[in-house]
Symmetry: C2
Subunit: 256 residues, 2 copies
């Protein structure tokens, strides 16, 4: 049972170029090469490939991936040293990022001359509720001031966390859109759910009794995204916004 390079690539969710690369660096040698020069992979290769991709998602470099796999093969199972080392790495990076964020915030406030970052930048990078006026028009008056108070009532750490969550969501949407992901597929729907859950945290949005956005609000918001520069700018233009909108509409249809 063996597969061509494209077949195994699709099975594992990667590309043929990546497979050739892994072969070139010796991380995943090709199982068999036909007389025509074609590469073929068997099920052992598939398992190894899946492990490689998993470790890569954890942020390990290719040499590090190789170490982990070699250790596992040598010690039957276990040998987490390389992973633990990587964990230390990740934590150091996180700490560095934290410091950088603080520095950038300081720089911004210095350049703007005083005052900490307030509500006007609450939705930086994910400014969909800038549509506040339109939203209010369609779903009735909701005091944005209450949202503002909610924001100011948060601690700096909470604000940062909230913004980080929003930024990550925005980045993931943009990434998925650029990769041409299917709006009805699992990945996009997971994103739509994240968007939905995230919205639940914002007061001043139309919500059901259990604190979640209403179906109408959710789909309506999605529709408004399309064609609105303030939103689409962060999501790969109108194409990206349309993708987001589609995914949200499908989610609402199925789940709400």
């Amino acid at each position: 049972m063996d597969w061509s390079i494209q077949e195994i690539a699709k099975l594992a969710g990667t590309t043929s170029r990546t497979l050739r690369h892994y072969d070139a660096v010796g991380l995943l040698p090709v199982t068999r090469v036909g007389v025509n020069g074609y590469r073929y992979y068997d099920e052992h290769a598939l398992v190894r490939l899946q492990r490689i991709l998993l470790l890569r998602e954890l942020g390990l470099s290719l040499p590090a991936v190789g170490e982990v796999l070699a250790a596992q093969e040598a010690a039957g199972h276990g040998a987490t040293d390389a992973l633990r080392e990587h964990l230390v790495w990740l934590r150091a990076e996180q700490y560095r990022l934290e410091a950088q964020i603080a520095s950038v915030e300081d720089t911004i406030t210095n350049m703007e001359g005083g005052g900490p970052l307030m509500a006007e930048h609450m939705f930086d990078g994910f400014d969909h509720t800038q549509h506040q006026a339109e939203v209010e028009e369609r779903w009735g008056e909701h005091a944005f001031a209450s949202g503002d108070r909610w924001w100011r009532g948060k601690t700096p750490a909470e604000r940062a966390d909230w913004q980080a969550r929003a930024a990550a969501l925005a980045a993931d949407w943009a990434d998925a859109a650029s990769r041409g992901v299917d709006a009805s597929g699992e990945e996009a729907q997971v994103l739509a759910r994240r968007q939905y859950d995230w919205l639940s945290g914002i007061p001043g949005t139309p919500q059901t009794a259990d604190g979640h956005p209403t179906r109408e609000y959710f789909t309506g918001l999605g529709e408004m995204y399309v064609g609105d520069r303030r939103f689409s700018a962060n999501y790969g233009g109108e194409t990206g916004a349309r993708f987001v909108s589609d995914a949200m509409a499908l989610f609402a249809e199925r789940e709400l």
Copy 2:
């Protein structure tokens, strides 16, 4: 008043190669080129260079740095849009890292078959208090068990933060050592102070009444680092450990 490429590089704390690169990409054009082909920079270039380096430390890409500077020049001062965009970026990265760290931790616990990460890995990446036995021998019995209880009493978030701090410190030591930094210089001494402050957070270490490590403990610890593989492995070998030790000794001499 103009300087040669090496002179201005030293003034700003960078390298001549970097200056040539900035010239090549148009970020910092050279002020004047002599008939011999030599590059010369004036004070305006120095100011701009310093701004560039500052923004680079905040993590901006060269094009982003160019945008910020252009906006500042156009608008007199201000124009923080690019920086704010960068901030969103940083937060998204941080969030991504957080998720990765959680995944790696899960993977490790899965591979080791159960149980969350406990005290045995408390000092991962910065395991100087593994010298516990020797330390106790020299500074009297201090129950390591109390340190263990302290660790287990922390919340996961606190543990992660503490480990991140330790990992960052370790990484910075290793980096400074690899760059051949002077142990008596400001950079190394700042690191030594961080190390000192960090130690203050660990119960079970000899401390003065105000909760700080004693001078003897601090210098003694530094001495033990040299030649101990468990420590030096993380710091660029014995050379790195010696550098750390020297910096710590000088710090203790001057400040404690």
